[in-house]
């Protein structure tokens, strides 16, 4: 009830604003970290707790490490950066195993 009262008193622009900034966060998170933002902001406290769990899982297990290396190399090719010495052939062979 309290939450609904708060939402009612918000400026109408706020819903649009939050949606756009939320999408901004999701897109940038997807591009850099490979997952959407796990934090939407106000009035969603349960997502705050989930955020911390997500980050720690990623760090401990190095989740999707091969997929991330693959994506990283594709980015470097798109940017035409020097990729010598990255041993990408070895990475490719490991993925085939």
């Amino acid at each position: 009830m309290e939450k609904k009262k708060q939402e009612k008193s918000l400026h109408p622009l706020m819903a649009v604003y939050k949606n756009m900034w939320g999408s901004n966060g999701d897109f940038l998170s997807l591009q850099y970290a490979g997952h959407i933002s796990d934090f939407e902001g106000e009035n969603i406290p349960e997502r705050e707790n989930a955020k911390g769990r997500f980050e720690s899982v990623n760090n401990i297990f190095g989740a999707n490490i091969f997929e991330e290396n693959y994506k990283n190399h594709c980015l470097k090719l798109l940017l035409q950066e020097d990729i010598r010495g990255n041993n990408i052939t070895l990475l490719y062979l490991l993925l085939l195993i």
Binding site: H11, P12, L13, M14, V16, Y17, K18, M20, W21, S23, N24, G25, F27, L28, S29, L30, Q31, Y32, A33, G34, S37, D38, F39, G41, E42, P45, E48, K51, E55, N59, I60, F61, G62, I65, E68, N69, Y70, K71, N72, H73, C74, L75, K76, L77, L78, L79, Q80, E81, I88, T89, Y92
Partner: protein, 418 residues
């Protein structure tokens, strides 16, 4: 209403003979020719000059050319084959790229090995999200930056951080082909809402996030700062609010902590390790990073560090922030503020965040200012300070802080309490 290009043909036509590959733009009378017998040398030619070749038209009719990609020993043209309209800025259409395709520049049969195919597939998959372009609007620069005088040399002009296909079109730029043949693309986010109601007046809200093409790698592969002063996950976010004859804009930055670190690939339980560099290299990199943020319009710079002293890794990094200079090379302010987001926001009391932001803006208002252009009265005010926010990965906490801060800026810009 969004429209897709799935069923429409683009304005490019591609023709090939054993000697040349020719690209035609339907709105231009000259052609782009790649000489297949002369190391794919590119030039603009007239229709008469290709009449001697027996050309076969390719089925692909793409919409835009991103440039020339070199992979293995192949050179490939990278074309946009499907897009979606995001909206309009200043009546100029902005598109999101949905699909791309490659056209090999070769007289032999295009038979890449499985590894090359594997990466070509991956590059195509990258375009599923977050790549944008416009034929009329320069997405690579902020509204205020576009006012500055540009050097005549297009190479210097284009060496901006956010032109994601700059290296792809370098060969075309150096060959001085007409820019009608290629586009400039950004990676990040573009959101446009053209039906915002602001106290009965119609307004357009636009958010453009531009990822830097330097240190643009993924989280595990790219952290911290490099010797040239580029930081990982460096993004310029611009919010534009257009109401009637007034345009308000504000630019804010995010990036990895400017410390020499990398992922700890031998021990996944540690989120990073320090990279050994000399104190001189550290100072030089920080100075380059700070100067680059302010050089364009000689701005004051404000760092806001959201990392926590109660998280071991972050506490260690916080100590390295002491290397920031107190002023830029041009004598502008360079200040660091701390806001321990995790600790301060533990009770989810967002009033604390709002109070911090209100105080921050109150103290630094005169050193930041906010861009405004009034086309009716032909006046403008420039933004004179930039804010750079970081947490550890500069994603979630940074986005919340940026959104809250820019909201406060918006209230000041439109002079009403939103």
């Amino acid at each position: 209403m969004k429209s897709t290009s799935d069923l429409t043909e683009g304005c490019f036509r591609i023709y090939q003979s054993p000697e040349v590959l020719v690209v035609k733009h339907l709105n231009y009378d000259k052609l782009l020719q790649f000489d297949l017998q002369n190391e794919n040398a590119v030039s603009e030619v007239t229709l008469d000059s290709i009449s001697k070749f027996i050309l076969t038209e390719q089925k692909l009719k793409p919409h835009a050319l991103l440039g020339v990609m070199k992979i293995d020993h192949w050179s490939l043209l990278l074309f946009v084959t499907a897009f979606e309209k995001v909206g309009s800025i200043e009546s100029k259409k902005i598109y999101s790229i949905k699909e791309v395709d490659f056209v090999p520049i070769t007289s032999e049969a295009f038979e890449p090995n499985s590894e090359t195919n594997y990466y070509l597939t991956g590059i195509k998959a990258l375009f599923n999200i977050g790549f944008y372009y416009s034929l009329e609007y320069d997405l690579t620069q902020s509204t205020q930056s576009k006012k500055s005088e540009k050097p005549d040399n297009p190479k210097l002009q284009e060496s901006l951080y956010y032109n994601f296909n700059y290296n792809l079109k370098l060969q075309l730029i150096e060959a001085k082909v007409n820019p009608i043949f290629y586009i400039s693309m950004i990676n990040g986010y573009v959101g446009i809402n053209e039906e915002v109601d602001l106290s009965g007046e119609k307004a357009t809200l636009t958010i453009i996030s531009r990822r830097s093409r330097f240190m643009a790698g993924t989280l595990f592969n790219c952290k911290g700062i490099d010797e040239q002063g580029n930081t990982a996950n460096f993004v310029e976010t611009e919010q534009i609010m257009k109401i009637g004859h007034k345009t308000f804009a504000f630019v804010i930055y995010r990036g990895s902590p400017p410390v020499f670190i990398s992922s700890n690939k031998k021990d996944f339980t540690k989120s990073f390790k320090f990279v050994e560099v000399s104190n001189e290299q550290k100072a030089s990199a920080i100075k380059s990073h700070v100067d680059r943020l302010t050089t364009k319009d000689n701005m004051n710079i404000f760092f806001i560090n959201l990392m926590s002293d109660n998280v071991t890794d972050e506490c260690v990094l916080n100590n390295h922030f002491q290397n920031l200079p107190s002023e830029t090379s041009s004598g502008k302010n360079c200040k660091l503020s701390r806001f321990d987001f995790n600790y301060t926001m533990e009770g989810n009391d967002f009033n604390i965040l709002h109070n911090y932001i209100s105080q921050f803006i109150k103290v630094n208002n005169s050193n930041i200012q906010y861009y405004c252009l009034d086309t009716k009265f032909k006046s403008s005010v420039d933004q004179t300070g930039v804010i750079r926010i970081n947490c550890f990965n500069s994603l979630d906490r940074t986005n919340v802080m940026q959104a809250a801060l820019v909201w406060k800026v918006l209230e000041i810009q439109v002079s009403i309490k939103l």
